[in-house]
């Protein structure tokens, strides 16, 4: 006990000597993503930086594991807790596994929000959905249905089986499928783990096992590229339409070559921007409870629902007419 007190004293001392302690008023917000290097999250980080500049006195720590695992994120959160960040905004690799460590963070006075891919309610103060879950579910199926006037078989190539956001969109889509698109049959759902190779293999598997497949829906930016590449390679352009959620800058060539008619996405820059705005507000005393309205800079404002979640704008559709323009932005 005594030694530990000394250690604590030494901490304070070294902080003083080194002068590395942050300025008092500065708010440190950690933006934790599923995996580093992913274009979608890099765009979100850009938005986060914009928000930090606008608010002032905010430092954004952009971090994440190199492979999309919950264990990797836990290690990072432990390091963030030790650094005494003021807020953590996380896009989670697993909705359940991260709960204990995020609870610990909150108990140490850190504000925690999830964005993009959520964690279970007890592990965060609020969740920022990029868009309305039901709307995304509808959109991804609609993108497929629009180009299948006669109906047919479709299959889903998702991210990891534990990704909360993808799962909720797929569930929402499945729920409305019988009523909205009665002549579309969903024949399979497979998981590419946001890994290019696995996604490629899974896409090939889908095509091999379902000869009548008309469309692949990939609600993940990694999977959609892999699926479009497979369709291109196998010479199935025109036979199988790839659709889903894609980053225009990464996906442009597949709209151009016809392997995909249209994809959708929200603006990841806005998403990162909003996450930082909300995290800053919560870190500075705003309480998140159902009905609270939060202002998010130029994006506008959002209101929390019963589950302390809020949704941003409807997904935006990219097709041959506008992909050129948006591929220059994100």
């Amino acid at each position: 006990m005594n030694i530990l007190k000394k250690l604590a004293a030494a901490t304070a001392l070294s902080a003083l000597v080194l002068g590395a302690a942050p300025a008092f008023a500065e708010t440190k917000i950690a933006l934790v993503v599923k995996a580093l290097g992913n274009g979608f999250f890099d765009a979100a980080a850009k938005g986060a930086e914009d928000a930090a500049k606008e608010i002032g006195d905010v430092t954004v720590i952009y971090t994440g594991p190199t492979s999309a695992t919950a264990e990797g994120q836990i290690e990072i959160i432990n390091a963030l807790i030790a650094q005494q960040v003021d807020a953590i905004a996380i896009s989670a690799n697993d909705p359940d596994a991260l709960v204990p460590v995020l609870k610990k963070a909150m108990s140490r006075g850190i504000s925690v929000i999830s964005w993009d891919s959520g964690v279970a309610a007890e592990g965060r103060q609020m969740h920022l959905n990029p868009s309305d879950t039901d709307l995304i579910g509808l959109t991804i199926f609609k993108l497929a249905a629009d180009y299948l006037p006669d109906g047919g078989e479709v299959a889903i190539l998702s991210a990891s089986s534990t990704a909360a956001n993808q799962n909720s969109w797929i569930d929402a889509g499945k729920a409305i499928l019988p009523t909205e698109f009665p002549n579309i049959t969903l024949v399979a759902t497979v998981y590419g783990d946001d890994d290019s190779v696995k996604s490629t293999d899974e896409a090939k598997g889908l095509i091999a096992s379902h000869p009548n497949l008309k469309a692949i829906i990939a609600p993940t930016t990694v999977g959609v590229v892999a699926a479009a590449q497979v369709v291109t390679d196998m010479g199935l352009i025109g036979k199988i339409n790839v659709t889903g959620l894609a980053l225009p800058s990464e996906f442009k060539q597949f709209i151009d070559n016809g392997s995909s008619k249209a994809v959708a996405l929200w603006n990841p820059i806005d998403l990162g921007y909003s996450a930082v705005y909300i995290a800053h507000a919560l870190a500075n005393g705003t309480e998140a409870k159902p009905g609270t309205t939060l202002s998010i800079g130029h994006v506008g404002e959002i209101t929390l629902d019963d589950t302390n979640s809020a949704a941003m704008a409807a997904p935006f559709t990219f097709d041959a007419s506008n992909i050129e323009e948006f591929s220059k932005i994100y």
Binding site: G37, D42, S67, S209, S327
Partner: protein
């Protein structure tokens, strides 16, 4: 004929044919040439990598760094291609190969000159290589839109009905076959695996032969680094993560003895194909892909048990010698 029935390769090939036949009963399209060619194409890189690993295992070593080497070499050419799209593709292929060769040589030097066990060396370099990728690329991925079209098309060009990727695998397999059966160096690699002491007496430099084997596995990793980026259209830290154990698994199923000196090029190819076919057959016969891991695990164990049975030490056979002498 008797020899044929005794060979591992024969039984493995039979097993593969039975699987293809069985799958075809349930999914008639499976045995079509186009589909089988596709399965082969999918397995091409595993074949090339397993052949590289085979050479190392034959000399009683192991290379855990192949997948990391592949990812690093791949990232280097991906970065070059992203920055200079006009850079000639064959030159990129060469750069990736040389890069892999250099990394393999680094492993080899540590094993040869410092006498560190291969498993420790490659466990170390595996993490070093991965980390270096992150530093090189600054944590970014190189994705489809950044790579030039000619790079991406390199593995996809159709030539005589098969993609170039398949042809690369066939050419390399043929080269390995010649190398392992027809060249003195290839035979020396076998010899040092069978009996290192005797090899020294036969004038073979054991350390140098191990070095050569690591150069070969490195070269194959580097070349596959190029193929991987072109085929999967991505360069990232996570490329082929954990693949090192799949490569070793292919070798083991193919009858390469971890104790060195035993195994053939044909066996290794069949081992890789076995994994490839399992991989592609499961979804076709509607078995959940979640079964795949357990099946490949069981096949490894089964293969090891069968190999061990055929290689069991038979003792001196003193009494049998006598009966031989009488007849």
């Amino acid at each position: 004929m008797k020899n044929l029935l005794k060979s591992r390769e024969f039984w493995l090939a039979t097993g593969i044919i039975i699987i293809i036949f069985g799958v075809t009963l349930r999914a008639p399209g499976f045995a079509r040439f186009a589909n089988l060619a596709d399965v082969f194409n999918n397995t091409s890189m595993l074949i090339i990598l397993a052949l590289g690993q085979m050479v190392v295992i034959l000399t009683r070593s192991i290379d855990l760094s192949m997948a990391a080497n592949l990812a690093l070499s791949g990232m280097i050419v991906a970065l070059i291609n992203a920055a200079y799209p006009q850079f000639p593709i064959p030159l990129l292929m060469l750069i990736a190969s040389l890069c892999g060769l250099a990394l393999g040589a680094f492993n080899g030097i540590l094993v040869w000159k410092l006498n560190i066990p291969a498993i420790v060396v490659t466990l170390g370099t595996l993490t070093i290589f991965r980390g270096t990728i992150f530093l090189l690329a600054g944590g970014q991925w190189v994705n489809a839109s950044e790579l030039s079209d000619s790079f991406i098309q390199m593995t996809r060009h159709n030539f005589l009905g098969m993609p170039l990727l398949s042809w690369f695998a066939i050419l390399i397999a043929a080269a390995f076959f010649l190398f392992m059966t027809r060249t003195p160096t290839g035979r020396n690699l076998y010899a040092i695996g069978v009996n290192p002491t005797a090899s020294v007496y036969a004038g073979i430099n054991v350390g140098k032969a191990k070095f050569i084997s690591f150069c070969i596995s490195g070269l194959m990793s580097g070349f596959c680094g190029f193929l991987w980026v072109s085929r999967y259209v991505i360069g990232s830290v996570e490329v082929a993560n954990g693949y090192e154990l799949t490569i070793i698994a292919a070798c083991v199923i193919g009858g390469i003895s971890i104790a060195g000196g035993v195994g053939t090029v044909v066996g290794t190819i069949l081992g890789a194909l076995f994994l490839g076919i399992i991989n592609s057959a499961l979804p076709v016969i509607n078995i959940s892909p979640f079964w795949q891991m357990a099946i490949s695990g069981s096949s490894i164990i089964l293969a090891v048990i069968l190999n061990a049975r055929s290689a069991r030490n038979k003792g001196r056979l003193i009494l049998k010698q006598k009966s031989e002498g009488k007849t």
